[in-house]
């Protein structure tokens, strides 16, 4: 029998094993990411309509179409508005994590309470909020009326208020998960820094701004990047809170616009064009953030 352990055959065997291990992951990427992405890019240049079964090349017509659509630009403005929650829940998340870190009384209970919205079904959460913010019968307006004598606004129906309501809900939802990330990062800050600072006579506030915050920048960067990508894709809240994107399309985001075009109007080609453009825009924003990160994110020793 030939010697099975020659270095050449061992290398080949190792390579084969390596390939075998990565096959499932590569397959998953190809089937669920690469292929649909390619189809979407191709479809962006066609008039693909599911019901009619058409699939003809139309060049840049789709792109011209949505760039001229007033609704699309309203959706873009609405989507930009959805970035608003990020600074708020980051700040509140850090403050809350600080409280947990210093073991403020009640922090364990509040950790659970704040995390609940994140793990709850979004549908259940929206139903709850729809009732809380009901114009006539909701708890919020009833409290405003009886305690303060102010007539609360039409949180869900008024075009000027619907986005604010969605933003409030997102902030409330994200505080929990943010504080968990930040708290974990806080635990990783070496105690020696604080000891040195204390020896030098630094106040707690000074320590926070000079030690804690800079050491938290990597996790804050992560949360910002992920938060922006997520916020720009706000869709479920819009679909559940409003019918048809709200009065005057006041709550419709770009993702909602894409969904409407794809599944209500069956214009898959058009929707793909918008989706491709939007994907490129998010990519550009993310790359920009990574470039800027060198300026403010602590890279470690």
């Amino acid at each position: 029998m030939a010697n099975k352990n020659t270095s050449a055959s061992m290398k080949t065997r190792e390579r084969l094993w390596g390939l075998a291990f990565i096959t499932p992951v590569v397959l998953q990427f190809l089937i669920f990411a690469a292929v649909p992405l390619t189809i979407a890019i191709v479809a962006a240049f066609t008039d693909w309509n599911i019901v009619r079964g058409s699939f003809e090349f139309v060049g840049l017509d789709n792109f011209v179409g949505f760039l001229n659509d007033k609704k699309f630009w309203t959706a873009t403005a609405n989507t930009a508005f959805m970035l608003l929650p990020i600074p708020f829940y980051l700040v509140l998340g850090v403050l809350f994590a600080l409280g947990c870190h210093h073991n403020t009384p009640g922090n364990r209970i509040f950790r659970v309470l704040f995390f609940l919205p994140y793990v709850s079904s979004i549908v259940a959460v929206v139903v709850l909020w729809k009732w809380l913010f009901n114009y006539e019968y909701g708890l919020v307006n009833q409290v405003l009326m009886s305690w303060f004598g102010i007539q609360g606004p039409n949180w869900l129906g008024d075009p000027d208020w619907i986005k604010t309501t969605i933003v409030l809900m997102i902030i409330w939802k994200m505080i929990g998960i943010t504080s968990i990330y930040v708290h974990a990062a806080m635990k990783n800050i070496p105690e020696s820094f604080y000891e040195a600072a204390r020896l030098d006579g630094a106040s707690p506030v000074r320590m926070f701004f000079s030690i804690t915050l800079p050491m938290l920048t990597p996790v804050l960067f992560f949360l910002t990047v992920v938060g922006i990508i997520g916020s720009l894709q706000t869709f479920v809240e819009v679909q559940l809170f409003t019918t048809d994107g709200g009065r005057n399309y006041s709550a419709g985001t770009v993702t909602y616009y894409i969904w409407q075009k794809a599944f209500v109007s069956s214009e898959m080609g058009y929707a793909s064009a918008v989706a491709v453009m939007f994907g490129l825009a998010i990519l550009a924003v993310t790359i920009f953030q990574f470039r800027m990160s060198k300026r403010w994110v602590y890279e470690g020793e």
């Binding site: 089937i31 019901v51 039409n154």
Partner: protein
């Protein structure tokens, strides 16, 4: 070494296989059936729990009658229905029988999604064409150029005449006698009646009327959304604007109808059931809920007429049962559609459960009219079908996109942000554009 690597290789292959196949559609029906075996067809629709129950009864009756066929009944919530249907069409799994919204008739016929039922209707074992409401069949007929004539592509699920219901006790308390066919109300008399009923404050507030039917107001005033040839948008017509403004003013000026915000907080149907609305439009499908939940006496009356023309008008609507052109068992599917549409037992069940006016003319005249339940004046439903009801304008065009855009901004008029005239001029161009696009698509096919 050999045994271990063999097992690991096998398990790796299994994992890869599982990943790929685990994601495939698990509900793939078996395609290889020996002849003579049961065939399975799918039926997709939506409905309240009561409606779904009625349908399940009717499907069981169908399966008794046709033992070779089993029906898979898929229910989808109404707002998601179109989306799910289109996805199924796109992936080649169109349900054999499904609900068809009349607004989409021409564009779906054009796309080749629906099976032509004309021959089946003319020659089948289930029903006699002349015993179905002509209006109902017309709703689902098209010759490619217009609706109302031509080949039939769906059978009616129901005909839904939109009638004006009223709370007898509220009207009596305000000393009002309801209108009758011989003594119609004009808009002014309607407003006066609504004003007399409106009373109270805050949570005790009673409104004279719910939102008025815009179709009834517009048509009664001699106007329409489009011209007779269906190629020009006519919403800036003074008669149209006047009608729209009158409907909006019922809330804004007269205060006899709930405001936009109040309607969003608590739907009018719920308000009516709580006895806090005097008059409201309903379709026959509301009978079941009212029998169940309304604790007062109610009835229906003819719609008021515009003082300008004295003409009665209101819409009747409905849903159709369409059959997929790619169905594997067209005969069974068409039989199911026909069964649900006109089978006597099924229709009787529907009628007795307060879901509909029967699709069969003789059953309506003989049994429905003599049913001893509210509304006592149920003949009004029939009067709408026979005398003054019209098919909505948006069901007569290639697609209803132009109508959707009109509706999407309409709340500006109802909330008083814009006058009817301002709104009509602001939206007319976009509506015309969409109408033209639809006509172009229609001509191109």
């Amino acid at each position: 070494m050999g045994r271990r690597s063999g097992m690991t290789a096998a398990s790796l292959a299994a994992v890869a296989l599982a990943l790929v196949t685990g994601c495939s559609d698990a509900s793939e029906p078996a395609t290889d059936k020996p002849a003579g075996e049961k065939s399975e067809i799918t039926f997709m629709g939506w409905g309240s729990p009561q409606e779904v129950e009625v349908f399940e009864t009717m499907i069981a009756q169908y399966e008794d009658r046709f033992p070779d066929v089993t029906v898979e009944y898929i229910t989808v919530p109404a707002p998601d229905f179109n989306t799910k249907l289109q996805t199924m069409i796109g992936s080649g799994q169109t349900p054999d029988v499904f609900y068809l919204i009349p607004d989409y008739l021409m564009s779906w016929v054009d796309a080749g999604v629906l099976a032509n039922m004309t021959d089946f209707v003319a020659d089948n074992e289930m029903f006699d064409e002349s015993n179905i409401w002509p209006a109902a069949l017309a709703t689902y007929s098209t010759d490619g150029k217009q609706t109302g004539v031509g080949d039939i592509y769906a059978l009616p699920k129901d005909v839904g005449p939109w009638a004006l219901a009223y709370n007898k006790e509220l009207l009596d308390a305000a000393g009002i006698t309801p209108a009758t066919a011989d003594d119609l109300w004009t808009w002014d008399e309607f407003t006066a009646a609504a004003t007399a009923i409106t009373a109270g404050e805050g949570t005790n507030k009673v409104y004279g009327t719910a939102g008025y039917s815009l179709e009834s107001a517009v048509w009664s005033n001699g106007a329409d959304w489009l011209n007779a040839d269906l190629n020009k948008v006519t919403v800036t017509d003074p008669a149209f604007v006047e009608a729209l403004q009158w409907v909006a003013d019922l809330s804004l000026v007269e205060g006899v109808s709930p405001s936009q915000e109040e309607q969003e907080s608590l739907g009018s149907t719920q308000r009516f059931i709580e006895g806090r609305i005097g008059m409201m439009g309903i379709g026959p499908w509301s009978q079941a809920q009212l029998w169940d939940e309304a604790e007062f006496e109610w009835d229906i009356m003819p719609w008021p007429v515009s003082p300008a023309t004295g003409e009665e008008a209101v819409w009747f609507g409905g849903i159709g049962f369409a059959v997929s052109s790619s169905s594997k068992d067209t005969k069974a599917a068409m039989n199911l559609a026909a069964f649900l549409s006109v089978n006597e037992d099924a229709q009787r069940t529907n009628m007795e459960m307060g879901q509909a006016v029967p699709n069969l003319i003789d059953m309506t005249k003989n049994e429905f009219l003599s049913m001893d339940r509210a509304p006592a004046n149920k003949a009004e439903f029939v009067r709408i079908l026979e005398e003054y009801g019209r098919r909505p304008t948006q069901t007569k065009t290639f697609n209803p996109e132009w109508f959707s855009v009109f509706n999407s901004g309409l709340s500006a008029v109802y909330s008083g942000d814009m006058t009817a005239a301002e709104y009509a001029s602001s939206v007319e161009a976009e509506m015309q554009d969409l109408l033209d696009k639809g006509i172009a698509e229609q001509d191109a096919s």
